[in-house]
């Protein structure tokens, strides 16, 4: 009885050790990988700035071109791309909001060219009510989730933009947004 148990035990140990070593090796190769994907992000139009349930809320339309096919390698399960807006107000030194995101699981789908507009549940808001004339930057970020191993995150900053100085709303915002 013992010999069978010991053999099974040995087999299991070898198998799990081999699997663990392969996983560790795969996870380690991530760190040798670098990519420099081309990304451009431009504000096409400011579509609105309003006061809504005690906060300032802004809408805009952006043009995004990002070719992230470069960031995929054999240990990439998915890339989570997202755009954040960041700004400083008298009330809060750091304000950040995700305004758009996209999950890409296949390399061929990672070439993005699209007109980005803010949609539920993402919204750009400021509880400090001070968006008027405030400078902000847009950031395009991507987080890669591995098949096994560590998560990686990279970012591109597009600084020096300014919110409009008055309340307005154009027809570009669909109802309910």
């Amino acid at each position: 009885m013992h010999t069978y148990m010991y053999r099974m035990n040995a087999l299991f140990t070898v198998a799990s050790t081999a699997l663990a070593v392969i996983c560790a090796a795969a996870a380690l190769t991530d760190w040798t990988f670098t990519s420099d994907p081309p990304v451009s992000l431009q504000v096409k139009s400011y579509d609105g700035l309003q006061r809504e349930s005690g906060e300032h809320r802004a809408w805009m339309t952006m043009q995004l071109k990002a070719d992230l096919r470069d960031v995929f390698h054999w240990n990439t399960k998915q890339a989570f791309m997202y755009i954040t807006a960041e700004f400083e107000t008298p009330k809060n030194e750091v304000n950040q909001a995700v305004v758009w995101s996209r999950i890409v699981q296949k390399q061929k789908d990672a070439n993005i060219k699209e007109t980005v507009r803010f949609g539920y549940p993402y919204q750009l808001t400021d509880p400090g009510l001070s968006l008027h004339n405030t400078t902000f930057s847009l950031m395009f970020n991507w987080e890669t989730v591995p098949v096994v191993g560590a998560m990686h995150r990279d970012t591109r900053v597009f600084p020096g933009l300014t919110f409009p100085g008055e309340y307005f709303r154009t027809r570009a915002i669909p109802k309910g947004w």
Binding site: F80, E86, E93, A97, Y120, P121, E143, G149, A150
Partner: protein
């Protein structure tokens, strides 16, 4: 009489040929294994700064990144929490931590240590709306103290064992029992 009982018990376990000293040694071995596991866990807590450095994904709200049964490694880190990071948080009065992504951050001073000066809103990648419906009634934001760590590492499938043991407790007792007998009866 007691001696006879012990002998009977030992015989039924196939340990009749062991003397008391050997039995005690095995007991000490078992204790060592348990305390080593505890030390590794507490060491991880110390290194990562997170009260629960390894968690199992229990829901599908972060699919397709994390599925039920995947294992996540957490780290608290010194850096302030920023939009886009996947974090684990605990709502007051509920025991099951939630793994979701930060979508809004408002911070009174950059990197402040005051919990209430940090306002955070989260959302699950697979959920349509943000998490305000998940928070306690009337709660609009998470604060620094709600967060248990950010996700830094990923290991698929292994957590299924935990889920099975949680769903069918007798599997857990059976496994612990078998392992315990192995440790006690193994002769080195």
């Amino acid at each position: 009489m007691l001696k006879g009982q012990v002998k009977g018990l030992l015989a039924s376990l196939g340990l009749a040929d062991m003397n008391l000293r050997q039995l005690l040694t095995q007991g000490v071995n078992l204790g060592l294994i348990v305390t080593t596991a505890l030390m590794i866990w507490k060491g991880l807590v110390l290194c990562t700064g997170s009260e629960s450095p390894v968690v199992v994904v229990l829901s599908g709200s972060m699919e397709p990144a994390f599925y039920r049964g995947d294992i996540l490694f957490l780290n608290m880190g010194r850096k302030p929490f920023r939009a886009g990071e996947v974090v684990v948080f605990n709502i007051n009065g509920r025991d099951i931590p939630i793994v979701h992504r930060i979508i809004k951050v408002h911070e009174k001073e950059a990197g402040t240590k005051k919990s209430d000066d940090v306002l955070i809103l989260t959302k699950g990648d697979n959920n349509w709306g943000d998490d305000r419906a998940l928070y306690n009634p009337g709660q609009k934001w998470l604060h620094r103290d709600h967060l248990m760590g950010r996700v830094v590492g990923f290991l698929p499938y292994i957590g299924q064992a935990t889920i099975i043991m949680n769903d069918y407790p007798y599997v857990k007792y059976l496994l612990i029992g078998i392992l315990g007998i192995f440790v006690i009866t193994s002769k080195e």
